[in-house]
């Protein structure tokens, strides 16, 4: 993975010192609340319901075991012994004391991490495919480009005060696992007819209260121009994006107002001035140098998969885990393993200090010392030799990290909700617990097949509810927690915004409503159709009838 050089290290160290002084001045009354707000936000610090919340960047979801150990130590020393993995591959701590945040940032800098630009109206953490570098359908490894973009975006002086936050995702595979169509900028690595590698550029996607699927404004951009093109898009947005209404300030609103074609023309015009600037041009040697940071691990060639495959036949527990929680790898004898953070009874995405430390050990033992964070709030050990899988499963199981439900209904995305977040209208963690209790039969979950259930506690959509097969959105109805259901959304290649089912349901009716939806699915399903396929074939009516009829 990318290692800091002296230059990178100087930047994060000086940034920590700068924030330490800003915090000191705020606490001494020299900086007003209004003046301190953008400064702390750009260092990842929110003021939340109970305490500050610190969001730490995990660039494109990649962690070393040493970094994970530091996160464990932060959880233990400064928080309450756990952290929360987010849908943007970051980790959040919910209980740090403001006075201690500079110390936390110093600890992070010690392992080449930071919390810069994880909040605020600036370019946020760059996210990517959690199977980067190992997926068998990969066109090119997105990580070198992510790191180049991360550096370009870090403390970019022109774009520190954008109209609103700005999120960039990069996918290097045919199957989009990075939700590129619902980001402010989505980058899809592609090859043209000549076999040359380039980028397809999408803009104007986003979730929140106005979910919009991004539009392609360039189908093939030579990679040497990647940074200059991004700079052109950001400049047009910085100058023209609305600043009078924060709900209309995202780039998606600008693109929609101008029309994608007019927006594209404006960007291309701006780009004419930027495209040949040497400092924004990625020469082949620049890319080659960055690629060296992401070498292929030293894979074993003597892996014997036969005993493991026998175990798949003989052992139900192992088979379930193997089928649900591991996926194919481009190297023979290897699988990528999902570490489930969806154990029933635990808030989705939460991980304790003890689990983090133990997992760091497992990563070293089984997967070249690296861990990835997925946007579905799980972790991945990406390079596991298949003869190690039985031992790894046992170790993960002892830690409560082997729940064999990846990709099923029980693998739901869930924001922290009303319990922690000051924006939320309704709880999400307790609803998730209800759902886990109701749908606890593994065979039933497997029968339902691929199902993406996402839940957000408010319309800011941190839980990506509006691009879920089944989305649940917490709303406030006269002081009561209600939940609006959407169906048919997706954040992958067939991206779509979900359709509203009908009136919101009360908290104690959410699990019943889900059951009614799934009954409808079971009644109408043809063959091995997924929920999404059935829904798209049938439309919303039969689901609506079932849910609201049974409610009468």
């Amino acid at each position: 993975m990318y290692r800091y050089d002296h230059y990178d290290q100087t930047l994060v160290d000086e940034r920590v010192a700068q924030f330490r002084d800003q915090t000191r001045r705020y606490l001494a009354g020299e900086l007003s609340e209004d003046e301190f707000r953008p400064l702390r936000l750009m260092n990842g610090l929110y003021i939340q319901r109970h305490a500050p919340m610190l969001r730490i960047a995990i660039p494109y979801g990649l962690l070393s075991s040493a970094q994970l150990r530091t996160l464990a130590s932060i959880a233990r020393r400064y928080d309450r012994g756990y952290g929360h993995m987010t849908t943007r591959q970051n980790i959040q701590f919910n209980w740090p004391a403001l006075e201690q945040v500079p110390d936390i940032l110093a600890d992070l800098a010690g392992v080449e991490m930071h919390a810069m630009q994880t909040s605020g109206n600036c370019i946020r953490n760059i996210t990517a495919d959690h199977l980067a570098g190992v997926a068998s359908d990969e066109v090119a490894d997105p990580r070198p480009y992510c790191e180049l973009i991360r550096q370009w975006a870090t403390l970019h002086p022109e774009f520190a005060y954008l109209p609103r936050k700005f999120k960039i995702a990069v996918s290097g595979s045919r199957k989009d696992r990075a939700a590129t169509q619902v980001h402010d900028i989505g980058i899809q690595l592609v090859r043209n007819a000549d076999g040359e590698l380039g980028a397809e550029i999408l803009v104007g996607g986003g979730l929140g209260r106005t979910p919009i699927i991004g539009e392609v404004i360039r189908s093939f951009l030579p990679l040497r121009h990647l940074l200059s093109y991004l700079e052109a898009i950001l400049r047009v947005y910085n100058l023209l994006g609305r600043r009078d209404n924060k709900y209309k300030a995202r780039i998606k609103i600008l693109v929609r107002a101008m029309g994608a074609e007019a927006f594209r023309e404006r960007v291309e015009k701006e780009w004419e001035h930027l495209r040949d600037q040497p400092d924004l041009t990625l020469e082949p040697e620049d890319i080659a140098l960055m690629k060296k940071h992401f070498p292929q691990p030293d894979y074993r060639t003597d892996v014997d998969s036969a005993p493991m495959l026998d175990l798949v036949e003989q052992d139900d527990t192992f088979r379930r885990w193997y089928k649900r929680n591991t996926v194919e790898h481009r190297t023979a004898g290897y699988r990528a393993v999902f570490v489930s953070l969806k154990k029933p009874g635990v808030a989705p995405g939460d991980i304790t200090d003890v689990q983090m430390e133990a997992l760091a050990d497992l990563a070293e033992r089984y997967s070249f010392g690296e861990i990835r964070v997925t946007h579905t709030q799980n972790l991945v050990l990406a390079d596991v030799a298949v003869d190690q899988l039985p031992a790894l499963r046992r170790d993960l199981d002892e830690l409560g990290l082997a729940t064999p439900t990846i990709g099923t209904l029980a693998d739901m995305i869930c924001c922290p909700g009303l319990d922690f977040c000051s924006l939320a209208n309704a709880g999400s963690i307790d609803v998730a617990a209800d759902i886990h209790r109701r749908f606890d039969d593994l065979d039933y979950l497997y029968d339902l097949g691929e199902l993406r259930l996402n839940m957000s506690g408010c319309m800011n959509a941190c839980g990506h509810h509006n691009v879920a097969h089944i989305g649940i959105l917490g709303v406030d109805k006269k002081g009561q927690e209600f939940y609006q259901i959407t169906l048919g959304g997706s954040s992958t290649n067939d991206a779509a915004v979900g359709d509203r089912l009908g009136p919101a349901v009360a908290k104690d009716r959410v699990a019943d409503t889900l059951e009614a939806l799934l009954r409808t699915f079971a009644d109408h399903r043809e063959g091995e159709e997924t929920f999404l396929e059935t829904y798209r074939r049938l439309g919303i009516e039969p689901f609506k009838e079932q849910v609201y009829a049974s409610a009468d």
Partner: protein, 170 residues
């Protein structure tokens, strides 16, 4: 009393006179006019030989200002609130695309914790309203982060590429 920092020094005097939109323009001396006034009165100002400055905010279309930029010795960029980031782009475009070499001055809500970003987009003077000791702190804050991944328009710091090739930070 506002304090002026330019070229990384606190300046004892400010030669420029900011002219309010309704106020009369003195016959002589360097003056800074608002954009709207310039648009209306540029014909009569054409013969003026003393230095002329212009004051713009994020609403002024940069494509209209840019081609005229060389007519001015100073362009004052107004930050009505600290979070209005449009003038950062104006500064960069003026420096890199229109090759403006005169003084670019930040005015309005100019804060100690922002002027390092402003300097890196090519702004080289700052008018601070919060007194001398604040201005001294602001000056010191310019050096808080000594490295950057982006090239500033007026500097010769190593580019991303040289850095990646192993160049030492400046």
């Amino acid at each position: 009393m506002p304090v002026l920092i330019s070229d990384r020094r606190i300046q004892p005097d400010d030669a420029w006179l900011m002219i309010a939109d309704e106020a009369p323009i003195p016959q002589e001396g360097p003056v800074v006019l608002g954009w709207d006034r310039w648009i209306l009165e540029q014909e009569t100002l054409r013969g003026r030989s003393d230095p002329l400055g212009i004051r713009v905010n994020g609403d002024v279309p940069i494509q209209e200002l840019g081609p005229q930029a060389e007519r001015f010795d100073l362009i004052a960029l107004e930050f009505p609130v600290a979070t209005d980031g449009r003038c950062y782009s104006h500064a960069r475009v003026l420096r890199t695309q229109y090759r403006f070499r005169g003084e670019l001055r930040a005015v309005g809500n100019v804060l100690r914790d922002q002027i390092a970003f402003m300097e890196r987009v090519g702004i080289n003077s700052f008018l601070l309203d919060q007194g001398r000791s604040y201005a001294e702190q602001a000056l010191a804050a310019l050096g808080e982060i000594s490295v950057a991944y982006q090239t500033a328009p007026l500097d010769t710091l190593p580019r991303i590429r040289r850095r990646l090739a192993g160049a030492e930070p400046a």
